[in-house]
């Protein structure tokens, strides 16, 4: 902070810190020269001092600071295809025998890896935001009751989307081997983002004379939560089927927003969601290119998943609130539904193009229900 106004405050803080630290030093010094003066000191072993696989490593500090990706030098950058260690031994540390296992079920790189995870982790931290103070809540003014009800119903649904993401990541994160810490770190940021989305949409629903709406029946949540075959399969459903839908709604935020607060909410949320999808797509591409029949497995799952997504989208609480918001009220809902249809068309097109980008073409096998949304 170089702002002149802050200088006295900063100096006071630094002075205060110095005083606290001096007191700490004095207290320790008093103890070591008093009670602890004659404490029995065990003989030094120092056998650990030579226990390293590689010494002399100096990671480069770049314009973006010292990033986690920059640490991948020498043997510390060797990321094996399989990580057999069943404990939390840091990658590249000197192992010690006899450590009881914890039990990680995901130990193959192909089952979780994405080359961009380290960069996305740092980006997530740089782009952090706070719903309490980064949203101009005072910009929210009274809305017609039907529009407010639609916004609140949309917020209720988006809270549930975020909740599903939290519970899904919470289920899988601890099953992933520590050897792939870049992915674990990134997914921690994703969970934190999802918590913020849960928070911000709840706050919006409760800030303007409205309240929460009706819960979803839960077709898509059930599909994602009950997907237990592997992280890649769950990721397919979480990112491609649900994630792209949520992302598309956020992208329509500039049309959905009734004020600057809502605009800011969607702008910030879409940034986060783009990162999540970026990891998801990169991982799915990685998984497909390293396993012979993975694309077939994915195709089968998507065939079922598409029908469930379509079923959920037919619930009145999914598209009708969007239509009311787009139309400026119930009376405009019919025209608003045309915008909602366009949103769905964009979602399905994005879904198909994203699939193509990871090597899956479903343009001929897309479920009829989803195909019907294409304009």
């Amino acid at each position: 902070m170089t702002n002149k106004d802050n200088e006295p405050q900063d100096s006071a803080r630094v002075r205060s810190r110095r005083r606290v630290n001096q007191r700490l030093r004095d207290a320790v010094s008093k103890e070591t020269s008093g009670d602890l003066k004659d404490v029995e000191i065990p003989p030094k072993k120092l056998d650990w001092m030579k226990r390293t696989y590689q010494w002399g490593v100096k990671a480069d500090v770049t314009d973006s600071g010292l990033t986690i990706g920059a640490l991948n030098v020498g043997i510390y950058g060797e990321i094996p295809d399989r990580w057999d260690d069943q404990s939390r031994m840091p990658r590249g540390a000197y192992p010690m025998p006899g450590v009881p296992p914890i039990g990680y079920s995901i130990s193959e790189k192909r089952d979780l890896w994405a080359d961009n995870a380290a960069d996305l982790y740092e980006e997530a931290i740089q782009r952090r935001w706070t719903p309490a103070t980064d949203i101009p809540w005072e910009a929210i003014g009274p809305l017609p009751d039907d529009v407010e009800a639609a916004v609140c119903q949309l917020c209720t649904m988006l809270c549930q989307h975020a909740n599903t993401e939290i519970e899904t990541l919470g289920t899988w994160l601890h099953q992933m081997s520590y050897g792939y810490h870049e992915v674990k770190l990134f997914l921690a940021t994703e969970m934190f983002d999802a918590a913020r989305h849960f928070e911000v949409f709840r706050k919006r629903a409760l800030s303007n004379g409205g309240g929460l709406g009706l819960e979803l029946k839960g077709d898509v949540k059930r599909m994602i939560i009950e997907s237990r075959g592997g992280w890649s399969e769950t990721a397919l459903l979480l990112y491609l089927l649900r994630g792209l839908f949520t992302f598309t709604i956020y992208r329509y935020g500039s049309i959905l927003a009734n004020n600057d607060a809502e605009k800011a909410i969607f702008e910030k949320s879409v940034q986060d969601k783009a990162r999540h999808l970026s990891y998801g797509l990169e991982h799915l591409r990685y998984a497909i290119t390293r396993q012979d029949d993975k694309d077939l497995v994915f195709n089968n799952l998507l065939g079922i998943g598409e029908r469930l997504v379509a079923r959920e989208c037919k619930e009145p609480i999914v598209l009708e609130p969007l239509a009311v918001i787009f139309g400026g009220g119930v009376e405009g809902a019919q025209s608003g539904m045309r915008t909602a249809q366009r949103l769905m068309s964009d979602y399905v097109n994005l879904y198909l193009s994203s699939l193509r980008s990871i090597g899956i073409d479903r343009s001929d096998s897309l479920s009829n229900d989803l195909k019907s949304y294409l304009l």
């Binding site: 696989y53 510390y76 450590v99 800030s207």
Partner: protein, 365 residues
Amino acid sequence: MTISKEELDLAPAVREFGEDNNLDLSWLDTRGEWGVRAEPSKRGLTLGDIQLGSYGEPGDHSDNMTGRPRGARARNDAYRVGGYKIRSKADIWLSNAHVLYEESLQRQWSSATDVPWNTIKPLPDDIERAQCQLATFLTEVEFVAAEVPGRWLAATTPDYFEPRMFLISQVMDESRHLDVFRKRAFANGGGLMQRPNVTTSGTVGSIDLSNDFTEMSSRLHITGEGSVLTIFRMGELMAYNEAEKTIYRLAAQDEARHVAFGVMHLRYLAETEPERKEEIHCYLDEGEGALVAGNQNPASRDTAQSEALAILLGGGEKNFDEGYRKLMAVRKRQAREYVQRVRSAGFGERFENGRANQELLAYTR
């Protein structure tokens, strides 16, 4: 609170409009409590500000198995997909989780850019090795505190979302701690060293295997993170540059929040379910044993990390004895802070009735 189709009270004109335009619109009249208007306070619009009416504090037990947001309108046909083991408030609640969560958002930091890495200059070999040994230890143990709370997220009903949100912020904080200590190990011509031999293993009585949230929290937040917090607070004594001082200072801020969560949760439990106090004392018995003898405490004796700390505190291998005395001063401080926390949580009787670990208490004198 559930509603059937027949109960809907949609305005006739709206219903008619819906029918004419192939719209259902029943959701317009099927919602949670209405007319809520939270006002931002001086800290913005916080979770505390939106705890209004039926959206306020949850009940003592939750029957929410579908994952609906607290206060949303339930429906009879929703799938019960939430595998929520924690549906009793006392199992996870504390009075200020929402405050701690908001604070964590305000105090997020970046290990890449908020640490002045350029202040790290070449250090004597024994000091650098000691720093790297300590960093190796911390990059492993800090991730225990990231991984374990994460397991409880999907097991907790979203009706108790405030503590759940806080635990997510802890996962984030501890991920950053893993990251920053790994960075320190590679920032100055060193590398990773010997990993601890049993610190984070899956053995009975460990943080990992706890089947009850409060059991886990008593071990993780009170004994485990509490002891690490003392080390971080003493960072000034073992840091050799501004970068290391910054790391310890920022990590201590985070750690203090996590410890506060554990203390406040234990306090809530002690007040609302005093019949569980004896059980919690058993967990504390084990935790104290680990504090004194176990390898979970960086300041415990005769481990690679305690020798590393002695070298750092003393100013080099040649001053090992002086460093060791300082290490014992750290341990005394750890013990005193632990006692203070447990008293604050409402379990102070163990220090009066002879139950507390005597070796631990000896450090407090």
